[in-house]
Symmetry: C2
């Protein structure tokens, strides 16, 4: 297991994969805007903006563009940053830990509050990768599952892997 | 200034005081249940329960009892813990960084989401003490001001000082 977190089956969504990409590249793909934007959104959606301030309370924001050209901003902040090990952020708090107004979520791709945790562990070959999304209630968790959490995060990870292979020297 | 944070005058409430109590006792009064409960709630309200797990994501919960004997639970988690320097927590996230459901705030003493920051700095004599409460929107900030933020936090600090003076050897 890459993760030490015990998910709550009614409130959390999680998946784990082993990818044949070195941990350094997985970390870089998650923590630098130029290396995050190419893979973060399952095509044909695109990530057209990204801001990262990699420290607890620092901004993590993206703008996702739909195939029809509509932009959806997502803003949150990091909660935990452990180099090449763990990255936690939430959309329930804005930069500087300011609580997000529920009403502000209406324009985002996700209307519910969540905390997301990416954990990774270097293997002899490749990286064990765990993504967990923690919700406030069963309704938010169900809504996220129905939006296609597993397909979406899985496809994004496949895009990350394909991109990282091009990054490698 | 004890604080490096630039408050937003429409969204944040803040006050600063110099108290004649050593920083070690101020920190202990904020971070151990047995030393927090005696002063945390302005009398005649009382703090009848307290749980502290002093790390980012760890629980900070209290139960406040009204003079009429009604109990109000408040649950949140720490975001930043810097020994004898800075303590940040929020009620927008539960322990383990799980977003709090808005509906769950109805039974608490405060219905709005906030992040609170206590900063302290040792002086030649005593401690400079800054409390800042960060809100999601102007409505929450106003509501908190009208609930008596300055009186309440001021009175609690006076109780802390009186208690800390008894703690001293």
């Amino acid at each position: 297991m890459a993760s030490t977190y015990q998910p709550n089956s009614k409130l959390d969504l999680t998946f784990e994969r082993v990818v044949d990409v070195p941990i350094e590249l997985v970390w870089r793909a998650w923590t630098t805007p130029e290396h995050l934007m190419p893979w973060f959104c399952p095509l044909p959606w695109k990530t057209v903006e990204c801001e990262i301030d990699l420290r607890p309370g620092g901004i993590f924001s993206t703008v996702m563009r739909s195939p029809e050209g509509q932009d959806f901003p997502n803003e949150g902040c990091y909660l935990e940053v452990k180099d090449k090990e763990k990255l936690v952020w939430t959309n329930a708090l804005l930069p500087g830990f300011r609580p997000a107004a529920s009403s502000a979520k209406k324009d985002s791709t996700v209307e519910f509050m969540f905390t997301a945790m990416i954990e990774m562990k270097a293997l002899a070959q490749g990286t064990r990768y765990t993504a967990t999304v923690i919700h406030a209630d069963e309704a938010g968790c169900k809504q996220h599952a129905q939006m296609g959490f597993h397909e979406g995060w899985g496809k994004a990870l496949e895009q990350l892997v394909a991109y990282a292979k091009k990054m490698q020297p």
